[in-house]
Amino acid sequence: MASSDAPLLEVSQLRIKLPTPQGLVTIVDGVDLVIEAGKVYGIAGESGSGKTITALSLLRLLPQGAVVEGRAMLGSRDLLALGRSDLRSVRGREVAMVFQDPMTSMHPMIPVGRQLTDHLRAHLRTSRANARRRAIELLTDVRIPDPEGALRSFPHQFSGGMRQRIAIAIALACEPKLLLADEPTTALDVTVQAGIIRLLDRLRRETGVAILLITHDLGVMSSIAEWVSVFYAGRVVESGRTADIIGDPRHPYTRGLLGSLPAFGTDAEAVPQLRPIAGQPPSPADRPAGCPFHTRCDYAEDRCTKQLPELLQMTGGRGLACLVDPGAA
């Protein structure tokens, strides 16, 4: 897409159906992503748009009965078609994940140190002493005060921000090439969030790890992600460089998301009203025909109710899936 060397991960035409009481329901519907080493790639969108399911599918963590189509090439290997033993060597070793709530992703009754070293020893087959040394190094790297003491502590003894730092240390222990970060700062205070954003940015620069960042917060996205795809109802409706997408949004949904945010930098006595998108996102089992956004779109025309817009490539690596394109100059 942008750089000349081969991308780290290339997802093409990813389609995911999940079993529900109403039968198989399409959650993700033809998603393409290209992630380069050392870059942060963002996925933005509301709850239920398929962001998390997309990330989980890359580690094959979907519920039983899920139907996945498409390809996710990590180098020459397709993550979606790996056998059991290959999968074991990829998970945590080449692709790692950080979740929104580190309290649920760490074992509450095992000291932090063992959670770090077990993982290191399993993948890297290193000695106990070496693993311990590396664990201290990792905790220092994510700025945990008193790393030696931290090894003996349990997850509940840390604050939310510190727990998330430890979760990141565990994820990065085996120097994965790709880190999937699903809303890593959503549960945190804004001051702590700023620290985690800065940490991810530093790790990306120092270790060259690529980060797939899932967040509904366009502020977080704007500060750290170089590329972004905006998801709506399981499809990418707009993608490109974050600065372009946020500076000049073309899709009515992206414009709506940005219009929903409080205006900063205005110190006027009267604040302008927010311009939220009307209505609610459709449930995956009940997505409208044509463009899935047409029911909430201010610019919708007759054809939008019938025809599904494809993601068309434009200049500067941008993509847009809108028949009307009201943002065109």
């Binding site: 700023a194 940015d201 929903s260």
Partner: protein, 334 residues
């Protein structure tokens, strides 16, 4: 007259066999008629405790909580005094605060019945009217809470509070856990209710961005104390307390510029063992010699704002060339 007034409120949580945890340590705050006051701060700063003290859910260990000029009675086994029904609380999580087994209309009618003190009034029309006020269709009344999204459920919770014809509503994190567009819809609703019905609101939030959008006045809380109060525009234009400045600088902006937000070093200290002097001094980038020794009082400053920071001490600035933010004596009686 202020609808809600907190005067030097202290709240302690007792622990068996250990010293009590002081969660709120001398907080004073006023909410005027038809005004939205935002109370912001990090987790663990005591803002939810203060909200609960406001409506009498926890008993202050010191100071006074006044609603329409009269002390709020802490909740006991007895029924709440009739006058205090005009003071309502909306919780953060409408999944747990709404009864899952009763229809929405019945839950709103409860509020009406209590407010009117009669069981036989015609409720159907009034329920519809209240639902319309929060932007929900009349058919909502015949459905159950689980049939609605998070944003709609929060509207239902607000409708239930409105049924009691309140003059003030305390809302504890009403907008967190919602998507951006649902959050914006609800923020607009709160401003509209303030303007149309003249309801005063105390909005507790960790999100300074959304508070900046809806509040007339903002109070910033740190470790049990209110460290700064100012009008929305003042606080944004010229935050005086270093903690307020840090909060504002840590907000990531969706401007496409790719600036990293500034992190505030350190953690919120344990409230049972607060730092000496100014409680913020270990994390403060501009602390001076005096800060670890003396706790700063709340200085009343020009522009009807306050700050608890030695750098804002009007006496210190009296002779300096830079000058303080102009010195103004607090008006008597405020």
């Amino acid at each position: 007259m202020n609808v809600i007034e907190l005067r030097d409120v202290h709240v302690e949580y007792r622990r068996r066999g250990r010293s009590p945890v002081p969660a709120v340590v001398g907080a004073s705050l006023e909410v005027g008629r038809g005004q939205i006051v935002g109370l912001v701060g990090e987790s663990g700063c005591g803002k939810s405790t203060l909200a609960q003290a406001c409506v009498g859910l926890v008993k202050p260990s010191g100071g006074a909580v006044l609603f329409e000029g009269k002390p709020v009675t802490p909740l006991t086994r007895r029924s709440r005094p009739a006058d205090e029904r005009r003071l309502q609380l909306v919780f953060q999580n409408p999944f747990s605060s709404l009864n899952p087994r009763r229809k929405v209309g019945a839950q709103i009618a409860d509020g009406l019945r209590i407010a009117e003190d009669r069981a036989d009034i015609a409720q159907g029309a009034r329920v519809t009217e209240i639902l319309q006020q929060v932007g929900l269709p009349a058919a909502t009344a015949d459905r159950f809470p689980h049939e609605f999204s998070g944003g709609q459920r929060q509207r239902i919770a607000i409708a239930r509070a409105l049924a009691a014809a309140p003059s003030a509503i305390v809302l504890d994190e009403p907008l967190s856990s919602l998507d951006a567009s649902a959050q914006a819809q609800l923020a607009n609703l709160l401003m509209q209710l303030r303007d149309d019905l003249g309801v005063a609101m105390l909005v507790i939030s960790h999100d300074l961005g959304i508070v900046h959008q809806i509040a007339d006045q903002v109070a910033v809380m740190y470790l049990g104390q209110i460290v700064e109060t100012a009008s929305r525009a003042q606080l944004w234009r010229e935050p005086l307390h270093p903690y307020s400045r840090a909060l504002i600088a840590s907000i990531p902006h969706a401007d496409g510029a790719g600036h990293l937000p500034s992190a505030l070093p350190g953690e919120v200290p344990d409230p049972s063992r607060p730092p000496s002097g100014c409680r913020f001094h270990p994390r403060c980038s501009v602390a001076v010699q005096r800060c670890p020794a003396d706790p700063p009082p709340v200085f009343a400053l020009a522009g009807d704002r306050t700050a608890a920071c030695w750098l804002q001490d009007p006496a210190e600035h009296a002779g300096s060339a830079l000058g303080p933010p102009q010195l103004e004596l607090p008006a008597p009686g405020t």
